[in-house]
């Protein structure tokens, strides 16, 4: 599939939804991708099944604080510098890149690298949504190594990280990103084509496209935006259940920073004045309760959206008084496997309860 300039806004919109409240605002990533596509024409999106087993594929994305990333902008050479260094280390050319996480700005990040290197973007990613830390990627869950990994910053600094332990890798990368100004580009979990096929979340880039396009088309045809979005998500097969969890107004918001994370709780009251939804977040939305009863939890997606425009409202943009719809979606099946839940399920975030799939929690909601 060719990705034309006109399609980028769809990808950004869809990626924002898949961020589940995190991943940052993809606006700057969108501008960057538009600039890159102007220089390099169109991008090639390659289905995961079409990459050769022996290929070298490189997941990449940005690590750091979204609040810093709007001020300290990339110089455009970070991704290529990191990927070139990985090629030197591996002694061979990179055949394709993929987003480490599809959710938020990182969903568009590899487009620029792909354009510069002239390689395709693989239609897959490492998270199927957004998560706060690098070890929450499916590649770590499936015991693949994050290293060798290359971190680059706009000042031209470059660091190669070598460690056997993926948690240590996350810690090193995180501190380096802070030392380099709060935001850096990371090429990590280099994979063979075979490993990518066996482990990456397939079809998530095109799923983001369809989600974004569905909203755009519904706007154009004055149709129900959320019907269109949830239908498009279900149609992808990757997010087999999706529906509106709540409709209301934000009436309270608490947040604090703990351990570098933005942690908090948002309360939304229904327009009838009877129902209430409470969502806890740690960068991403983690758990939603309707009238005290859990109705969705990580790794399933919980995204708060503007109820008029269907623009995603990330957790840092939540504000008292916003009129919103909360959309839930089942996470890709790979994230719901038992060993995956250790890393991305409710226990991983200290929520103290067992994972129940969103479709079970909302048995009466439309599939």
């Amino acid at each position: 599939m060719r990705i034309e300039r006109s399609m980028l806004a769809d990808l950004a919109r869809g990626a924002a939804f898949l961020g589940s409240g995190g991943g940052g605002d993809p606006y700057y990533s969108l501008l960057l991708a538009e600039a890159a596509i102007k220089r390099c024409d169109a991008f090639e999106l390659l289905p995961l099944s079409e990459i050769s087993d022996s290929a070298l594929v490189a997941p990449c994305g940005w690590i750091g604080a979204p609040t810093v990333s709007v001020e300290k902008l990339p110089n455009g050479r970070e991704a290529v510098a990191g990927l070139r260094r990985l090629e030197t280390i591996m002694g061979r050319k990179i055949d394709a890149v993929l987003p480490i996480e599809i959710g938020g700005g990182n969903g568009l990040a590899p487009l620029i690298a792909a354009a510069e290197l002239g390689v395709p973007v693989l239609d897959c990613d490492g998270m199927g949504r957004a998560f706060p830390e690098s070890q929450m990627t499916i590649f770590n869950i499936r015991n693949l190594s994050a290293c060798p990994s290359v971190l680059t910053a706009s000042c031209g600094s470059l660091a190669v990280i070598e460690t056997d332990d993926n948690l240590t890798h996350e810690r090193i990368a995180r501190s380096l990103s802070v030392a380099l100004g709060g935001i850096a580009h990371l090429v990590e979990y280099p994979l063979t084509g075979a490993q990518a096929k066996a482990n990456a979340i397939p079809g998530s880039v095109s799923a983001a496209f369809s989600a974004g396009a569905a909203i755009r088309n519904a706007h154009a045809n004055s149709e129900d935006l959320f019907e269109a979005l949830t239908q498009a998500l279900r149609d992808t097969g990757l997010y087999p259940y999706s529906f509106t969890l709540f409709d209301g107004k934000i009436v309270d918001l608490e947040r604090e920073t703990r351990g570098g994370f933005s942690i908090g709780k948002v309360i939304i009251d229904g327009f009838g004045g009877q129902d209430r939804m409470e969502i806890e977040f740690q960068n991403e939305n983690l758990i939603a309760r309707r009238n005290g009863n859990v109705c969705a939890m990580t790794p399933d997606l919980i995204t708060v959206m503007d109820r008029e425009t269907a623009d995603t409202i990330t957790t840092e943009k939540l504000k008292y008084g916003q009129r919103v719809k909360v959309i839930g979606a089942a996470a890709p099946a790979m994230l719901r496997e038992e060993n995956a839940l250790e890393f991305v399920g409710p226990v991983a975030f200290g929520l103290g309860l067992n994972y129940t799939p969103i479709e079970k929690l909302n048995a009466r909601a439309p599939a």
């Binding site: 501008l31 609040t67 810093v68």
Partner: protein, 543 residues
């Protein structure tokens, strides 16, 4: 006494206010020659009240000049911008994503130079004096005198932008220089976009302010001239000529502030119905609620503070698409009924049936159905009661939907109906606990300009591990109050808003704090509403 003037796209409104009393008001279509219009509006209110020009101590003007210039792409300067952030940000140079008809007017002259700061205040790269000087010379060679400077994390540290300004001034003594930290908040691209727009308005702003001053002089006024800003506070004309972009949302803000003043309501919804649109805004503690999203100005994304206003295409001149002949005969009254969004606007006095024209407008319906009295009702085509009721309720439904979209709490709220066509809002509109129509409602915007206060705003990133939270906040409050006093406030100076946003993914406890202070101008403290309810911080005026 003060005179407030609001120059809108359709009408120029003026009021003369003494203390909290409106002595005279005036409304007429905005003229081609805006300063002549302002001058005659001032003359009119003085004459109506029988007040001598010497009794007026201050004139406050809100104007739509700058918005129009940006939207129409006219009267804009060619500008040059220097960004201090390299090597960071080179992938997104200035003007990325701008509409080409706008860059066609103002050019695309930029330099990406070393400089800027990291989030912790350290330098991204060292300031390069020679490079800045070379850039300034290049602009001078092209004859560019409107110059903008942006720098990474300038809201935390503005030092480099100021150093650049000094060098530019040395090279181009007549330059008008706009610095990003003076315009916007965090978000380099949006802030830089705002500062570029500001620079593009430099020449126009200077002309407009000169013409306002001339208008005052012409009427023999020896009064101070203030311009109202987006947030409802005032700046001096000299200040406004440097920061025109800070005034472009002042129209809706002024009507909301005026509505609050005329009714003594601090929290509620204001609906300002003009000839073409109805602007709906929310009052929180007497001030307009601010928009939390990026604001699009003339197709450019900025983070300039603007009131959160929903504009609906429904006003007194809105066309009612409906064929009375076809619909009356058989009683099937509503076939093809459409309300607007087109409007006859200021031509309502010629084109609506009420005034002898042949276009059916919302005003015709309001008068025909007994909701307003003006014009000549006998000229409106005879409509069945069913048709009138149906059209009227369709109009109400549009307005009700707008109210619902702006409300932040369940339950009914107070609605203040202002603007020349406020009669379009029915007393029984859904969502309203009550509909207030204060005296002088049709010139609420000019009232809002006249009673405006001066203010100051501070936006900083603080690491609470370096400076304890209470100490940091106390310091910022102090400097906000001091800045407010320095801008001319002398009484009832108070902090009206504190916002704190923690920055995630960074070590420690780093937060972005925004503090806003407002205060009354010297001779108008009597206009303060509910001053006893406020925590009053007295600050002695510096001069």
């Amino acid at each position: 006494m003060r005179i407030g003037v609001d120059v809108g796209g359709t009408n120029t409104d003026a009021v003369l206010i003494d203390g909290s009393q409106v002595l005279a008001s005036f409304k007429k279509p905005t003229s081609e020659n805006i300063s002549a219009g302002v001058s005659s509006a001032i003359e009119a209110v003085l004459n109506r009240a029988g007040v001598a020009p010497s009794a007026v101590s201050a004139v406050m003007i809100g104007t739509t000049h700058f918005t129009n210039a940006l939207v129409e792409r006219s009267r804009l300067d060619e500008i040059g911008i220097i960004r201090l952030a390299s090597p960071s940000g080179e992938a997104l140079p200035p003007f990325t994503g701008w509409p080409s008809d706008l860059t066609g007017q103002i050019g695309k002259h930029f330099f990406l130079l070393p400089g800027g700061y990291e989030f912790d205040g350290s330098e991204i790269s060292a300031f390069d004096e020679d490079k800045v000087r070379d850039a300034a010379r290049a602009f001078r060679k092209r004859g560019i005198t409107s110059i903008a400077v942006s720098s990474a994390f300038a809201p935390i540290n503005e030092a480099m932008e100021k150093r650049a300004a000094k060098i530019i001034r040395e090279e181009i003594p007549n330059a008008v220089i706009s610095l990003s930290h003076e315009i916007g908040r965090l978000g380099l691209i949006e802030r830089e976009n705002g500062v570029i727009l500001n620079a593009a308005l430099a020449t126009l702003a200077s002309h407009v302010m000169t013409s306002f001053e001339y208008a005052l002089e012409q009427r023999g006024l020896n009064a101070r001239l203030f311009i109202s800003q987006n947030d409802g506070t005032l700046i001096s004309a000299m200040h406004a000529s440097r920061f025109p972009v800070m005034t472009i949302g002042s129209g809706p803000t002024n009507s909301m502030r005026g509505a609050a003043f005329l009714t003594d309501i601090r929290d509620g919804i204001v609906m300002d119905v003009g000839g073409t649109t109805c602007d709906i805004g929310v009052l929180v503690n007497g001030m307009p609620r601010e928009s939390s999203v990026a604001v699009d100005i003339g197709g450019v994304r900025t983070n300039i503070r603007m009131p959160d206003v929903l504009a609906i295409g429904l006003g007194g001149g809105t066309r009612i698409h409906f064929n009375p002949d076809k619909n009356l005969a058989n009683g099937s009254t509503l076939r093809g009924l459409r309300i607007g969004p087109d409007s006859v606007g200021y031509r309502i006095m010629q084109e609506s049936f009420l005034f002898g024209g042949d276009t059916l407008t919302a005003s015709d319906i309001a008068v025909a159905s007994g909701h307003a009295i003006f014009g000549d009702p006998s000229l409106v085509p005879a409509l069945s009661t069913e048709a009138q009721t149906a059209i009227w309720s369709r109009i109400q439904a549009i307005l009700e939907d707008g109210v619902d979209r702006m409300k932040t709490t369940a339950g009914d709220t107070t609605i203040i109906a202002v603007g020349g066509a406020n009669f379009l809002i029915d007393d029984t509109i859904k969502g309203a606990a009550e509909v207030l129509r204060p005296a002088h409602a049709s010139v609420a915007n000019a009232v809002g300009a006249a009673i405006a206060q001066v203010g100051a705003q501070i936006d900083k990133i603080i690491d609470y591990e370096k400076t304890p939270r209470d100490v940091a906040q106390a310091n910022l409050r102090k400097s906000a109050l001091a800045q407010c006093a320095a801008s001319g406030a002398c009484e009832n100076i108070e902090i009206v808003d504190v916002e704190e946003v923690f920055l995630s993914y960074l070590p420690g406890r780093t937060a972005q704090i925004r503090i806003k202070a407002v205060g009354d101008l010297a001779d108008v403290s009597s206009t303060t509403i509910h001053s006893s309810e406020r925590a009053i911080a007295k600050v002695t005026r510096a001069h």
